[in-house]
């Protein structure tokens, strides 16, 4: 299951943070996240809790993987 969405961290207050997705903001809790996020980081939010801090490098790697996958193909 488990509907969860990437949201940007706007500010952090102890165990809570305000996060935003496309201008929709909500307060979430940081109790269960493993790496404490910084402002500007993206976290994956499920049912009012941040469950994972998105590793920007890993995200870039996935996108790079696509580039490499298709780099030896003619466009189109």
């Amino acid at each position: 299951m488990c509907l969860a969405v990437p949201m940007e961290v706007l500010n952090i207050d102890g165990n809570r943070a305000w996060v935003s997705a496309g201008g929709t903001k909500r307060e979430v809790r940081l109790d269960v996240i493993d790496q404490r996020p910084h402002i500007g980081d993206y976290v994956i939010v499920h049912a009012g809790f941040a469950i994972h801090r998105i590793d920007q490098e890993m995200a870039k790697e996935t996108l790079k993987m696509f580039e490499e996958m298709f780099s030896n193909e003619a466009p189109g």
């Binding site: 299951m1 109790d31 993206y42 049912a47 809790f49 994972h52 998105i54």
Partner: protein
Amino acid sequence: MKHLDEYRDRELAQRIIERIHASSKKGIRIMEVCGTHTVSIFRNGIRDVLPSNIALISGPGCPVCVTATEEIDKSIKLSREHDVIITTFGDLMRVPGSKSSLQKEKANGADIRVVYSVSDAIKIASNNPQKRVVFLGIGFETTAPTIAAAVLEAKSEGIKNFFVLVLHKLIPPAMEALLSGGDLKIDGFMCPGHVTSIIGASSYVPVTQRYHIPCVVAGFEPIDILQAIYMLVEQLEEGQAQVEIQYKRGVTFEGNKNAMAIMERVFDRCDTVWRGLGVISKSGFKLKVQYREFAAEDSFDLSIPKAKEHPGCMCGEILRGVVTPAECPLFRRTCNPGHPVGPCMVSSEGTCAAYYKYQA
């Protein structure tokens, strides 16, 4: 990067689809274990773009759909206590018990409130000290840590009128149970991204090794799912069976140690009943001794007449891919989207519900 639109790009999708068509030779059956994958596959029309030799099979679905009749009956019994407010995720409202559902009980006057987070339930408990607030703790490993955190909060804040009916279910034991039946016609698993954010991709290593079946952990955007299918195709064409992570931005091999520790602190593992699949060993949670004050089953009388699982329901076989919905004696007769019996019909995108709606 907002980690959303990048994974919805039409051109990129087309190129991955072409790749899949070019590489996929064998007839293969891939099970998506997670209900959220099922919904995304449906909403994005992914079945429609795959070659005909690739079949996507919907797995045990969402944790809600597999909530047993008996568990719904207990929730309904709780909702009938005069001083109780039931708090629940919206998903559970329409799931049928033996005779009723939470939605119908609400129509009869029960105080049942849909919340977005267990934190909302704690707030309701604080605001209604004269009431007893019961949260229905459904969900897989993604949700269970949030409920555990709420129990810890209630303990440290000394909240006395908050209770949880723990109904959590765990994914790897269910995959094992499906596979150990021996007749499972599945060649590869698309594993649930957000469950794996918590438990780590390493959790699937025993399954791949024991049953020689590839597992790819996938995200939920269309590009994620297509790429995961491509990775599974590659493994299957080459006869490999490994655990791979497609959803690298959301998942690690080790998982979220903090969340796992919180679950360990609050819950013990126990056997639990899955709708349509029966009892699966060590596939559920119960509150540990030191948190029993929050256990709904300890504070309320939850004895109910033995719930009748419908004897004809073939959801177990349908999930294993052994029979099609049309072969189930209940399909379209006793069991339909308005009056679902098993999890495959309860979930609006479950195998039976989809079959009912789209294969007229």
